[in-house]
């Protein structure tokens, strides 16, 4: 199988997976009671009207009295045409809410991701190259410190030191500053630092152990014997094979970036990003928004897995397209 065919097959499979997820989501939603209908019934009851009639009217208005398959096709159409409905907890379209939040999340998560995937393996390989020396211990200590200290706590401490005491950085996040500006870099420096220290540990440890395996391999000895510079030797002969198993971790990392770890940092630094959006949607029981954010992460996961598989084959020529 050639790369082109493999690529098409994988993309097609990703489409099928997303369709299955959307279908399951639809079925679960169809089975759950609709809060808008419930609210209409309550409202009617409060005003002395007939709750059953009001509920029926609300169902009609929302097209809930249509047959299941008609609703299903409407739903699929809305999902794939990005018409994700209205968020009642934010009074704006769900798509706008997600893109707005993504805009702020991307501003810190892109530098965070880049720094993590660059610094992590670098520090790991550096550690391995200096194994059991003070440099290795220092790098390991740094990685473990970041990994061990909870992000939100570290964030508050740094905010106290640099924001309140030294007044180098602003406390409240200003959404009004341009993305590529010094002000934005200053206000994002601490959140990015906190997140990088939190995520670098795992990457650094894996790459340290992986590269330790390769630095005494036959091809390294050959390279050294040929007089290849240490930098080139580590970059070409150690880093590349190290990245193969690491790429799985990195893609996972990339996905986690957009949600889990970032929620608390967004809360501490008042960044109106995706983590907070998802969390607040859940708390407010804003069905459309919960659905929107869930679908968003679903698509990111599907695409992430796709990229991971493709990167795998590009990084390691030994992995064939056959039997896949």
């Amino acid at each position: 199988m050639g790369f082109g065919r493999y690529l098409s097959a994988r993309v097609l499979w990703a489409g099928v997976v997303s369709l299955i997820i959307v279908t399951v989501t639809f079925l679960m939603l169809a089975a759950a009671p609709n809060p808008a209908v419930r609210q209409a019934a309550t409202q009617a009851a409060l005003q002395g009207g007939d709750p059953a009639a009001a509920a029926e009217r609300a169902r009609e208005l929302r097209g809930l009295n249509e047959p299941l398959h008609v609703r299903y096709f409407d739903f699929i159409q809305s999902v794939y045409t990005l018409d994700w409905g209205w968020s009642v907890s934010r009074s704006q379209p769900v798509m706008e809410a997600v893109t707005q939040a993504l805009y702020y999340t991307a501003q810190y998560s892109i530098p965070w991701t880049i720094l993590t995937i660059i610094l992590g393996p670098l520090v790991g390989v550096y550690s391995a190259a200096n194994m059991y020396s003070w440099k290795d211990h220092a790098a390991t200590g740094f990685a473990f410190f970041g990994y061990a200290i909870p992000n939100f706590f570290f964030g508050i401490i740094l905010l106290l030191v640099f924001g309140v005491w030294l007044e180098w950085i602003p406390i409240t996040y200003n959404t009004g500053v341009p993305v590529f500006s010094v002000e934005n870099a200053i206000q994002l420096a601490i959140p990015v630092f906190v997140l990088v220290t939190g995520s670098i540990g795992a990457v650094m440890r894996v790459s340290r152990n992986e590269s330790a395996e390769f630095q005494n391999a036959d091809f390294m000895k050959t390279a050294k014997a040929k007089g290849v510079s240490p930098l080139r030797a580590y970059a070409y002969h150690v880093m590349r094979p190290t990245l193969v198993p690491l790429s799985t971790t990195l893609v996972g990392q990339l996905l986690a970036l957009f949600l889990g770890a970032s929620l608390l940092v967004e809360v501490v630094f008042a960044i109106p990003g995706l983590g907070r959006l998802t969390y607040e949607a859940l708390i407010a029981q804003d069905t459309n928004l919960v659905l929107g954010t869930t679908l968003f992460f679903t698509f990111v996961a599907v695409i992430g897995n796709l990229i991971e598989d493709l990167v795998f084959t590009v990084l390691d020529p030994r992995i064939s397209y056959d039997d896949r």
Binding site: T42, Q47, R90, Q100, P170, I171, V267, A270, P272, L277
Partner: protein, 632 residues
């Protein structure tokens, strides 16, 4: 409906509390045999069991102040609890200092507090300790998220209604609500015993609004399943018909004495809002009406400069004035759109958009200022806009606006270009104080298309309404941006109508005295306080546990602002409350009194609230003009 029936409710009291008072004299009304060793003066005889003096020798005054002085402690709590045991059909008792159920096991109940709020947790811990020491109850303290508690424990989203016998009469829940879904047999989905998750408003300006909590057994809001044993409906009806403040006060004093006695919710305290301000800011006052004159506030010199920036913990669901029901969003709306009126520091009515007057409390005349302008193309604000708003939106069945219940049964009629009249179903001299007749001005032409189509979603999602683009000269600032995640930003409204009025502080003639304003949503408390300390925010709420440190901080001026919101211990009197054995002791007045008497209000205030609160005995703060006179 329900009649006051003392015989039924408390065997130890065969005479009305008013008669007690006159018979004993004021100060002598509280006699605690358990403490003083004196015999009872008015009891029906004591059972004298297990060395206790029994409940009969304790007499309570008309307005009992539980949890302080003589009405606090182990002995008084035991005495009251024993009265409850006698009333209960199950065999509860004390085994030494331990309260035991009919199986002989210690009574074990739980208490919920708001997760992540230190004050709430400390209060729950304190209550657990007091109930353990003074009543021998084992209390388990549990944290819960407020929204979850509301949805699954406090309310029933599918109210059933039903009938029950209350004080010997049949009562029907005809319009059950999620907050009062039916008689005590109708419960929320999850069971719970006690909670301090929610405090409630005590409506000191207009206590009539408290009928939503206490007007009989089936009012709008009664999650705990409280059945008043006094004739609440009759008293509220008297208050509604009052045509003078004296009549009103008379009715309310009796209501509040009864509530103090029956403890529908165990009243604990009123905590002040502790607000930190920029020390250069002139304007904030330690008064319930703090902020009423915001257009006259300034920083440093009294000229137009700088920015007034505040921080808040919760983002806004909507800024559509027709549908907003949140306090925080209300503040954000009112930066750009004045409400119709407010109350000054003397709690006197202060007209903003219109003045209100009446002769009999039934027919009210609204006089609209003539210098109010919407943004183009909507032109001048006239009576027609208000009439249309009330009749076609607030009073329409299809539009669930936030003010719809306020205008139910009110007849409005235009009497001039800038004047209209409202006729109430019955007289209410406190009508303005209910905030019911306050209207946001909304242009008729803006909402008319939605009204014709009966399009609720269109109305809710209209951008002009959501972004307050129609506000013209009607607010001190213009809303420039509402970022859903991070808050609102404003610039000064150069055309603000308030500059041309005759009333109010002189500085109104130049107000507002800031070039810009903003409200930032910052969820993390430490970050909000950091912003206050560094001067990024001009005001922020301060938690009581940090009062001392901020009070000594030169960068912050701390003010204590009284609030009408109370801290209460809610006890679940419904069928899914009281999980410590058969029956439900919370339903018995003496048991609730025992709980109130077992918790020292002063220790709670000093220990948890750093002294920044006042004790709460009945459903009004002490500064209310309807507060019953104490027996002291």
């Amino acid at each position: 409906m329900s009649r006051r029936d003392i015989e039924d409710r408390d065997d130890s009291r065969h005479v009305d509390r008013r008669q007690w008072l006159s018979a004993l004299g004021l100060a002598g009304a509280v006699t605690l045999a358990g403490c003083s060793g004196n015999g009872g003066d008015g009891g029906d005889g004591s059972d004298g069991g297990d060395g206790s003096d029994g409940g009969e020798s304790l007499t309570l005054p008309d307005f009992p102040e539980f949890g302080v002085d003589d009405l606090y402690g182990r002995d008084v709590a035991h005495t009251l609890a024993e009265r409850a045991f006698e009333e209960s059909e199950y065999d509860y008792s004390f085994d030494g200092d331990t309260m035991v159920n009919p199986d002989g096991d210690q009574v074990e109940i739980n208490i919920y507090h708001s997760a992540g709020q230190e004050t709430s947790q400390l209060t729950a811990d304190f209550i657990a300790q007091e109930l353990g020491q003074n009543l021998g109850i084992s209390v388990t303290v549990e944290a819960i998220d407020g929204t979850r508690f509301n949805n699954e424990y406090w309310t029933q989203p599918e109210p059933e209604g039903g009938t029950d016998t209350v004080n010997g009469e049949e009562v029907t829940w005809e319009n059950p609500t999620p907050q009062n879904p039916g008689p005590r047999s109708v419960t929320s989905n999850e069971s719970w015993d006690m909670s301090i998750v929610f405090g409630l408003n005590t409506y000191p300006l207009n206590p009539l609004t408290n009928s939503v909590f206490f007007d009989g057994a089936n009012p709008f809001y009664n999650p705990v399943g409280y059945y008043p044993q006094f004739d609440a409906q009759e008293l509220f009806s008297q208050a509604r018909q009052a045509t003078s403040t004296d009549e009103l006060r008379e009715a309310f004093v009796e209501i509040f004495e009864n509530l103090a006695y029956e403890q529908p919710y165990i009243t604990l305290l009123f905590s002040d809002d502790i607000v930190g301000y920029n020390p250069d800011l002139e304007g904030p006052i330690e008064n319930f009406s703090n902020g009423w004159d915001l257009p006259a506030w300034y920083e440093g010199e009294s000229n137009v400069s700088g920015s007034y920036d505040t921080v808040t913990s919760a983002r806004f669901t909507t800024l559509n004035p027709l549908f907003n029901t949140e306090n925080g969003a209300g503040e954000a709306i009112e930066r750009a759109l004045d409400p119709a009126y407010t109350f000054d520091e003397e709690q006197e009515y202060f007209p903003l958009l219109y003045d209100m007057s009446t002769e009999d409390g039934e027919v009210w005349t609204f006089d609209i200022r003539e210098n109010l302008q919407f943004s183009e193309p909507y032109g001048q604000v006239t009576a027609e806009d208000f009439i249309y708003l009330v009749q076609e939106l607030h009073q329409a069945d299809w539009a669930p606006t936030a003010a719809s219940s306020s205008w139910d049964g009110v007849t409005v009629e235009q009497t001039g270009e800038f004047q209209f009249q409202a006729t109430l179903e019955s007289s209410n001299i406190l009508w303005p104080k209910t905030y019911d007749p306050t209207l946001y001005p909304i242009p008729k032409d803006l909402v008319q298309p939605y009204v014709e189509e009966e399009d609720v979603e269109g109305l809710q999602q209209d951008e002009e309404l959501l972004e307050l683009q129609f506000a013209g000269n009607l607010g001190p600032f213009e809303l420039t941006e509402w970022n859903r995640g991070s808050g609102t930003e404003y610039v000064r409204n150069d055309e603000y109508y308030l500059r041309d009025i005759d009333e109010g502080p002189d500085l109104f003639s130049e107000g507002p005295l800031f070039e810009e304003a903003s409200i930032s949503v910052v969820q993390e408390q430490a970050s909000r306080l950091g912003a206050l300390e560094t001067g990024e925010a001009d005001s922020a709420a301060i938690p009581p546990e940090q009062y001392e440190s901020y009070n000594q901080n030169d960068n912050v001026t701390v003010r204590q602002v009284p609030t009408p919101y109370n801290t209460i211990l809610s006890v679940n009197q419904r069928a899914n409350g009281w999980n410590a054995g058969p029956g439900n002791l919370f339903q018995l007045v003496p048991f609730r009194q025992a709980l109130a008497a077992a918790i020292s209000k002063q220790d709670l205030i000093d220990g948890v609230y750093r002294g920044l609160a006042s004790p709460h005995f009945t459903w009004q703060p002490r500064w209310s003009e309807f507060y019953p006179v104490s027996d002291e």
